[in-house]
């Protein structure tokens, strides 16, 4: 490979990809658990309480996986990206330490209380612990996004003579214009995954004909939350993010959209096509003229800079990867909106629970929601390249000076092996829990 940081990057990408399978479910799921628990408090119907407790079981499995795959993320800042940690630890150390101290602590403590303390605390306090788990997990997302936003669009800092980045304005770190749009977009995407998972469990129960009552409840709730979140993830939150990218990372935007050449007037929007990096064009392109300019600037004829306007140093390093990530995310997002709109229509017409085709579709589509979430993150992270701190610190300058790539390859192989095992066991355990269902008393 061309560069010495290849294995470091692959290791971080692999471990964070695997890690993010779990939090993306737990963040959204915690809100659904709070919803079911609230329904129970209002209606006193026991099945809502059982639903909340059942989903918390799935939450807990995912949370455990999130913890044990999350510790390696924290470690890797020091082990593989030592120079980056040394230079910017004064800033991202703040947000990461706060994440551990406030949100992670909150989440893990109250998760235990929710699981073990229902009889001890009574129903209102039990609801409150669920709410605190939800707050903890969303605060965790917020602080991680604050860290990432600083890397995407650094604010509130100065660089000392020795090259170190120090924080000089704490509130700017949290008032970062990049932060709120990406946080909301991320949380809505997490809601998509968890709503689809809940709907999918519901569809499964209905199709197999066992625990059908719970199946209908899960499906209905999942479809309603899924419809809302699938729309919110595109508009307005996705739209805000795109506008931020145009404004702060125009080179990344050109690569995401696959605009090799700047057009005279308004820019077309590419729906399909494969980047041809040799001839600098898209093969098999299907595009609609002027739409991208309208979406970006609400002006059909405004010019958008193409990749030809930027030097090689400014452009992302993996243009096809970035282009595909972005288009996979957008394409899947569109499918989700379509499916959930149709499902909601059937729900309204009272035909949802008997329509086998749609039940099978909802049950099977779940993996795609995970892919869409991860593709979104790949878009953000590949778009940031070749920088760690956009515009300031190059990725190649952040790596550990003393860790050879041979050692990194060794640990990368170790992680791959271990995570394959972990993934299989996770599927086994989640599958068993779902199969047993909410009425199971077994542990």
């Amino acid at each position: 490979m061309e560069d010495i940081i290849f294995y470091d990057r692959i290791q971080f990408a692999f471990t964070i990809t695997f890690h993010y399978i779990f939090p993306q479910l737990t963040m959204g799921l915690s809100l659904l658990i709070v919803f079911f628990k609230w329904k129970f408090l209002r209606s006193k119907i026991e099945k809502y309480n059982n639903a909340a407790k059942f989903l918390m079981k799935i939450f807990a499995i995912n949370f455990t996986m999130g913890v044990i795959t999350g510790i390696p993320m924290e470690f890797q800042f020091g082990t593989n990206w030592a120079k980056f940690s040394e230079l910017t630890g004064g800033i991202i150390g703040q947000t990461l330490a706060m994440e551990g101290m406030f949100s992670f602590f909150l989440e893990s403590s109250f998760l235990a209380l929710f699981i073990f303390g229902e009889k001890l605390m009574g129903q209102k306090l039990h609801f409150l612990t669920g709410l605190l788990v939800f707050i903890g997990s969303w605060a965790s997302g917020y602080l991680i996004l604050a860290t990432n936003s600083w890397m995407q669009h650094p604010v509130g800092f100065e660089i000392l003579e020795n090259g170190k980045y120090v924080l000089n304005n704490f509130s700017e770190l949290f008032g970062n214009p990049w932060l709120l749009p990406s946080f909301l977009h991320n949380q809505m995407a997490s809601m998509v995954t968890s709503s689809f998972v809940v709907a999918s469990i519901g569809a499964f129960y209905i199709l197999r004909g066992k625990q059908v009552e719970y199946g209908k409840m899960f499906l209905k709730t999942g479809v309603i939350f899924g419809l809302i979140s699938a729309n919110l993830v595109a508009f307005p939150t996705g739209d805000w993010n795109a506008k931020n990218v145009v404004k702060y990372q125009p080179a990344a935007f050109a690569a995401m959209e696959g605009i090799f050449e700047t057009e005279e007037a308004g820019s077309e929007i590419v729906l399909v096509g494969q980047p041809n990096m040799v001839e600098k064009k898209l093969d098999n392109k299907i595009a609609v003229p002027n739409v991208l300019s309208f979406l970006t600037y609400q002006n059909w004829n405004k010019q958008i800079k193409g990749m030809d306007e930027f030097s090689k140093e400014e452009l992302p390093t993996n243009i096809p990867g970035l282009y595909y990530s972005y288009h996979i995310m957008v394409g899947l997002g569109t499918i989700f909106i379509g499916l959930m709109t149709f499902a909601a229509f059937l729900l309204w017409r009272k035909k949802l629970f008997t329509n086998k085709a749609i039940l099978w579709s909802i049950m099977s589509i779940v993996p795609l929601t995970y892919i869409a979430n991860l593709a979104g993150w790949y878009t953000a992270e590949l778009g940031r390249q070749p920088y760690l701190v956009y515009g300031y610190l190059k990725t190649v300058d952040g790596v550990s000076p003393t860790v050879s790539s041979g050692n990194t390859l060794f640990t990368l192989l170790g992680f791959i092996g271990l995570y394959i095992l972990l993934g299989l066991l996770f599927l086994l355990l989640v599958g068993k829990t779902i199969n047993d269902g909410p009425t199971s008393k077994a542990h």
Binding site: I68, I71, N80, M101, L160, T402, T411, L429, H443
Partner: protein, 357 residues
């Protein structure tokens, strides 16, 4: 300000070793002494109910270290790359063992994850001790060869071992005679701690037998500590200077020895938690006296070219530490409250508690 954050991080680290220490120890006891299924279940429970909340302290300690001493975080984590990665893998294995053991009723399934849990606990206790030994002994900062640093003065990289396993050379490996002894001490300390935890939290059938086991392990711990002190004196003749200068620091080694000596009376204790208190003192005293002896150094240099790393030359520059003070104090108070609430909720023996999520 550096000193304040150093103390906070040291306290969080010590709490981590006291808390996660007992479930590492429970794993070690589980591996060697639990024979009956009932005992295996209940011992796994004493760890399984608590490990994840305990490891939160580890994450917080890491986060605070990153925030307050980023250069140190970068230097130590990249320098001890291999052992840290192995620790991560062991932690993952241990978690798998604990979480999956009860999922199926097949005997072989349980046996498999019991062994995974036990062995990874044992190795983790050993590796953490070896890690502490490395910090005490120091490393070849800057990877000096023939009087020239190959890297910036605070960077280094340690191989797992050198051919002679000697701690006295300028470029030692992770494992040498000294660090291995510290590793063994760590295993003994945590095994005693875990056994006390089991006595405290369960009604298992091996509780009485464990008291004799603790007594024997404690003899080895006592002797091992004295041997390691002698080694330490050879490594660094000044290791007692801080205590002469500031005699109040002597409270830390006293805690350690009160813990160890008190443990010898294990069979006479009237309450099940007395032993646990003494082993807690041992861990607390051990960690604090080590840090007090090194202070303000946090990683000694084993060559004459590059200086030791101290809390002063490693602290973050700018106003970051003061800015963190506000949220840091709130965070510490919250952490203490969560921990106390949790302790209250899980008081009593775990035998009848609902296990498994």
């Amino acid at each position: 300000m550096e000193l304040f954050w150093f103390i906070i991080i040291a306290v969080v680290m010590a709490i981590f070793f006291i808390l996660d220490g007992y479930d590492f120890g429970a794993g070690i006891i589980h591996l060697f002494f639990a024979k009956k299924e009932d005992d295996k279940v209940v011992i796994a429970k004493t760890a399984g109910l608590f490990w994840d909340a305990n490891e939160v302290w580890f994450v917080v300690a890491g986060g605070l270290l990153f925030m307050a001493f980023p250069t140190y975080y970068a230097s130590v984590f990249s320098g001890f790359y291999l052992p840290l990665m192995i620790i991560l893998w062991l932690m993952i294995f241990r978690a798998i063992g604990l979480e999956f053991r009860g999922q199926f009723k097949y005997q072989m399934w349980k046996d498999l994850w019991d062994k995974v849990f036990g062995i990874s606990s044992l190795l983790l206790a050993f590796f953490f001790g070896v890690g502490l030994g490395n910090v005490v002994r120091g490393v070849n900062l800057g990877s000096v060869e023939n009087g020239v640093s190959l890297y910036e003065p605070h960077y280094f990289f340690l191989p797992l071992w050198n051919s002679d396993f000697s701690p006295l050379v300028t470029h030692p490996g992770i494992f040498d005679f000294f660090t291995i002894i510290i590793g063994v001490i760590s295993v003994l300390t945590l095994a005693i701690h875990g056994a006390n935890w089991i006595i405290f939290k369960t009604n298992s059938s091996i509780n009485d037998k464990l008291k004799s086991t603790i007594f024997i392990m404690n003899i080895f711990l006592f002797v091992g500590s004295l041997i390691s002190l002698n080694f330490w004196r050879n490594l660094n003749n000044d290791f007692f200077n801080n205590f002469w200068d500031k005699p109040y620091l002597l409270v830390f080694p006293v805690l350690f020895f009160v813990g160890v000596i008190g443990q010898f009376f294990i069979k006479k204790f009237k309450k099940d938690y007395y032993g646990f208190i003494f082993s807690t003192l041992t861990i607390l005293g051990g960690i604090t006296s080590t840090l007090a002896s090194l202070f303000p150094v946090i990683l000694p240099s084993r060559n004459n070219v590059n200086p030791d790393l101290t809390i002063y030359n490693m602290a973050v520059e700018g106003d970051g530490l003061s800015m963190a003070l506000g949220w840091g104090i709130v965070g510490i108070i919250l952490m203490a409250i969560y921990a106390i609430v949790r302790l209250k909720l899980t008081k009593g023996k775990v035998d009848d508690m609902d296990y498994g999520h």
